[in-house]
């Protein structure tokens, strides 16, 4: 399950509490005391969610949130604002921060985790899959796009899953049965030959950019995805 969370607050006590609560819920978290520190951590290892204190020394939480929203790389990261008092909430709300939620101090660990879960569930779409790359072949599950040498190629759902499976399990031969389990699901009543057909379709799609050679047939055993012939 996903969960790198960045906590930005200048009060160590708060950070400690938050860290404890998040650990409890099996989230990993990193901490920063101000926007500068935070930015360093963000670029180093992009978090899945940011807990951001409203009042920060230096660049304020609001301004930092705006900045994050403007940058392409970070604009999809959900932000939860931490505010000291409730009446600040309305103020902030009117200030075009891109906050996805607010938590008012003081808050309980339970409350914190509940909100984090809610926001992650709502904002982070689908699975937090990683982009898979293999010698010029790029497969991105979150955008559902496949690029072969910067050239976009279109695959059907099954072909997409098939390629995804092979790209994440390269250099190894898989029997048709195993492929069926992995790509179609562990309990599909599908003829094994069907795998051949989809391999064929996938190959055809990859051929236009010369990547069909990546899919190799191992006679009597199955198929393998590999960079070398």
């Amino acid at each position: 399950m996903p969960g790198k969370i960045l906590v930005v607050d200048d009060e160590p006590a708060i950070r400690a509490m938050v860290r404890f609560a998040l650990k409890q819920a099996e989230y990993t978290c990193s901490e920063a005391g101000d926007a500068t520190e935070a930015q360093a951590l963000v670029t180093a290892d992009t978090p899945d969610l940011i807990l951001l204190d409203w009042m920060l020394p230096g660049l304020s939480g609001i301004d930092y949130a705006r900045r994050l929203r403007r940058e392409r790389l970070t604009q999809n990261i959900p932000i939860i604002m931490l505010t000291a008092r409730v009446d600040e909430e309305d103020k902030i709300r009117g200030l075009n921060t891109g906050a996805d939620d607010f938590i008012t101090k003081p808050f309980s660990p339970r409350e914190l985790v509940a909100r984090v879960k809610a926001v992650l569930r709502r904002m982070v779409p689908m699975a937090v899959d990683e982009v898979v790359v293999s010698e010029g072949l790029v497969l991105d599950p979150s955008t559902h796009k496949v690029l072969a040498n910067d050239e976009r190629l279109s695959l059907g759902p099954t072909e997409f899953r098939l390629l995804h499976f092979f790209m994440t399990h390269p250099e190894r031969v898989y029997s048709r049965e195993r492929v069926l389990d992995a790509v179609w699901g562990n309990n599909a009543y599908i003829d094994e030959r069907t795998v051949d057909v989809h391999i064929r379709r996938l190959r055809k799609a990859l051929t236009v950019s010369g990547y069909d050679r990546f899919i190799q047939t191992v006679r009597g055993v199955g198929y393998r995805f590999s960079g070398d012939a």
Copy 2:
């Protein structure tokens, strides 16, 4: 926690109990015995949350909730429905009331306050008024206008929110379920295919200026907003 809460119930005993419990938790509250009274109070001083009895003399709680949801000014106010018996809950749930939570009578003051707190906490800022731009497409939430190549195009409220969502979450694929959550709200009981229809309407609106290509359908998964084909 400041919170103006409107209690709508025709039984004075219930109102008294609720009033007491809420005062205890430092909420201010106003009371109404039917929808007409309630509406007067709502327009006079918009509450932060409404406790609404299911059965009311005159306009029923369900109908009143629906009405509140439809009006722009009140559609963001969370509503907690009070029901007499548990099995009514499912019934109401299926009726597209916009209720955010349910409480079954009889209930303890403790439970009441807990639910009220929870719902208020869950309130997510809907208005993030920042102009969003994407390759000649300009969307301004504050004026509620959309420009495509300086050409004004008119969208319905839902289409507007849909476009806003996609423009602020580009590239990624979103399932119909996610889109419903994000655009219609987390607790709308709406058929998933409705998303298709609104996508269709949005596409038609964008077509005149050639921006319909931005909305791509990913078969078997959902939709994506992206500049490149």
